[in-house]
Subunit: 301 residues, 4 copies
Amino acid sequence: MPTILGQNQYGKAENRVVKITRDGATHHIKDLNVSVSLSGDMDEVHLSGSNANVLPTDTTKNTVYAFAKEYGIESAEQFGIHLARHFVTSQEPIHRARIRIEEYAWERIANSGEGEHSFVRKGQETRLAQITFDGSSWEVVSGLKDLTVLNSTDSEFWGFVKDRYTTLPEAHDRILATDISARWRFNWSGDEGEMPDWDASYEQTRRHLLEAFAETYSLSLQQTLHAMGARIIEHRGEIDEIRFSLPNKHHFLVDLAPFALKNDTADGAVYFAADRPYGLIEATVLRDGREARIPADLTNL
Amino acid sequence: MPTILGQNQYGKAENRVVKITRDGATHHIKDLNVSVSLSGDMDEVHLSGSNANVLPTDTTKNTVYAFAKEYGIESAEQFGIHLARHFVTSQEPIHRARIRIEEYAWERIANSGEGEHSFVRKGQETRLAQITFDGSSWEVVSGLKDLTVLNSTDSEFWGFVKDRYTTLPEAHDRILATDISARWRFNWSGDEGEMPDWDASYEQTRRHLLEAFAETYSLSLQQTLHAMGARIIEHRGEIDEIRFSLPNKHHFLVDLAPFALKNDTADGAVYFAADRPYGLIEATVLRDGREARIPADLTNL
Amino acid sequence: MPTILGQNQYGKAENRVVKITRDGATHHIKDLNVSVSLSGDMDEVHLSGSNANVLPTDTTKNTVYAFAKEYGIESAEQFGIHLARHFVTSQEPIHRARIRIEEYAWERIANSGEGEHSFVRKGQETRLAQITFDGSSWEVVSGLKDLTVLNSTDSEFWGFVKDRYTTLPEAHDRILATDISARWRFNWSGDEGEMPDWDASYEQTRRHLLEAFAETYSLSLQQTLHAMGARIIEHRGEIDEIRFSLPNKHHFLVDLAPFALKNDTADGAVYFAADRPYGLIEATVLRDGREARIPADLTNL
Amino acid sequence: MPTILGQNQYGKAENRVVKITRDGATHHIKDLNVSVSLSGDMDEVHLSGSNANVLPTDTTKNTVYAFAKEYGIESAEQFGIHLARHFVTSQEPIHRARIRIEEYAWERIANSGEGEHSFVRKGQETRLAQITFDGSSWEVVSGLKDLTVLNSTDSEFWGFVKDRYTTLPEAHDRILATDISARWRFNWSGDEGEMPDWDASYEQTRRHLLEAFAETYSLSLQQTLHAMGARIIEHRGEIDEIRFSLPNKHHFLVDLAPFALKNDTADGAVYFAADRPYGLIEATVLRDGREARIPADLTNL
């Protein structure tokens, strides 16, 4: 046959696991969506359909739930490390495991009852973690998506190239808004190195992203992206690389002149928030001397 | 022709309007999705295609944006009142206007910069408002959707009917979770009565919903629903009726016995958060002596 | 307590059931999403949490799957009739059952193999059925959603009202496009009357909708809506009422004049297909002398 | 500064363009969603915010619409080639252009009117095309997504690895269903080589995918995947590589034994169609001697 089998992986995707921990009447919640991808000596299942090397995806699902009980869920990253190590070290044909996790945050509901076991979903960004293990080295990429931010001023766009198809006027005071999607890679690569405090790292990285967005006087969304990325690399020594995919969520000043209304930014303005099309700005910022490893496409469009 | 024309309405749906107000270097944001539905003397446009009585939907869109500038957006409800009054009083063929509004909340981003013009979308529930005016009386129905809440204990389910098809075991300690979708009708019906403080009413109603959910020891989701509704009617004199559509977001205790693991609620448990199917509990609670007017179906399934 | 309990209903929503029937090596498939809503003597479960009258939603789910085996799925409507009758007649506290069904169509994949058991999902509209039974009379409302249609000419829009906020130019050759969402009510109301052939009725109604859309020279989307509705009432004696919710999916002629390009409809044109906002046209057409019963809101915006 | 800028790209995403072509009273329609990504000499816009090298994303949008008029849309691939060549050859700072296109298919509505200008959206898979040009060589990757297929028999799953967490029973007659997502790379790499007939290639590749799915007696979804891939490589000489991402859409036999009902596959069975979790099978099949270039992740989970 003139074909060869290339990269392949398999596993159970989107295992929705909720873990409740009780500390007396005070409960804690972890809410994850865990996807497992395994690779290794898998030629035969593709060529002949023999499953002799295949741990069923149903088993990988069971393992996720069992490990949530056996190990608890200290953080998404730590949970993924337990899972990845297990698959690679317990099954000879499996040479590489990649665990992807989405985490949904919850807040407590203030109430007059006894105990603390009532929660409301926070609803902001989804936290992301990806743990990859090949039997010897580790790669952890964390991130977030759908963190929607907006500056109502301190954004301009001018001095750009004009060609035959350019009609856009220059803007000296515009809204800048985006849904932040970011992935950042840790330089921790093995059991020996000191493991980062995953939750503390996440909280600080998220804070820096928001602050850098808010504090950057922006001449382009690319400049804002770079400011966010550089801030992370400068302040978070555990992170070597960060990649962004930032839609430019256009807010167009509505032309109210036909109705004898002045709609300018100086005294408060009315905007049309558009859906499609949108600008899409993507880039990697990395620590000098380090190698970029996060793939270019965080989204599929 | 053996047919007659029944209820009909038309307008522009989903006008996305963002209004920025400047108070020096401190900015404020209102972010709405406004849908207009007009009814009246519209037989001809259906029968012959004559548009002589038709204010274009494009015009209703323009009006939304112009009014955001002319009147500002004090609250979703007040904005809808301006719009509904305008359409009914300015166009003779239009006898009734219904304005539906979704509102998205934003929080400020704490930062070291000057001014306050940076925001992050709150991401929790969507606030809803529906204003209807027929030229003489008003109806305002507010609400919210997608407020996801969870109690990790204080919920039971037992003592139910068992028929030939019943296999469900009784539960004495389960997770209770739902996405609250609610609509509440104000008894304010005209320009003469004192208008509620729409924003304060919303904040208090939301707080009561969360507290009632958290503080109710629940033997059924119906009981929790009723407790939430009764709390609103008791505490908010401006509201006569509230209707809920509450999916029972099932969290199933995972059977870990095959792996020699005990998974019971007492010492912290692992759950599978299911998507479909889900229980769906819907009911109206209303003030004694008042008439129910909110339609039964808040959702389409 | 100053509150009373209003309309309420409960059940299991979105039971996804697939039934395969074998006729030798030729298989047939039915693919449904079934939602059950029960009403009746349910005060106590709301007030005290007593489930003594509550058939669990889990049981209603089991019943859906068991009935698919016991009765088969001749059509969505017939399947819903079996279910509704069962719940009302077998449980004394249940006075009314409403079954809502979505059906997904599949086509056979032509292939050289033996037997016929390979399918590709058709992917066009979702077929809808709603069966309501209160112990004595029946109501069947069928329908469809997400049937996207487009006429590239034979549509105009002019002669409309112009007010202060009107800027729309008149159009004499435009694209008319919509996602048809329709619900139609049958006049069959009980076991005694001859039951319609549900599948044949659906196929003919769908065909008439498409033909009426295609054959109507349209001066307004309302006119097209009415033509579709009147065609159904005239040709399908089993149907007394039909309601539509039709978004006007705007396709705007792109202004290419800045690029020295003429973009008019006469010699083929380029359009921007917009997402939001959109016109939304809703109306009921009914047989003369019959009562309208389909609620006004088929969608939530 | 200790950071460096890595891979970056920008452009306007999701330009929805509809092109109508008139051949007398017979119209033709092309319906695309076009996303532009440009890379090149873009350090300054990230570092200082200077837009001196930046062709605005608004201009790339205008170009899409203008080219649809100037060049027409013969096929998605051909349209993307025009666009990619334009951006790279007309703007010195732009060194690479990647055009991604989704195409939505329409069918004619049979009707008794004159002319042929009425369409219904086909609603099955979305066709995909990605065209990349770096000034010297071309890469075209086409594909599809959301083509949902199902075999109601001729699928087994047994002989797999059993570990401590394995509970899955072996299956000797199961449903196999998936949403096909595939990308295939053409070996055409420049203006000199004979360009494939893009539309004919797509139709044949799609046909082979469906036939290979239907005709493969499957012992694993991996085996079915490989059969589909090998069929393409064998029959379509213009294609060197194909990658799949196939969710295993589980259809579980419902346990009806508690209701004294036998539910086995032999005489027609009832299944629960599950949402999450699902198996996810991903692999590349390529022509012997050729290099794999399609990235591993077609989806984000």
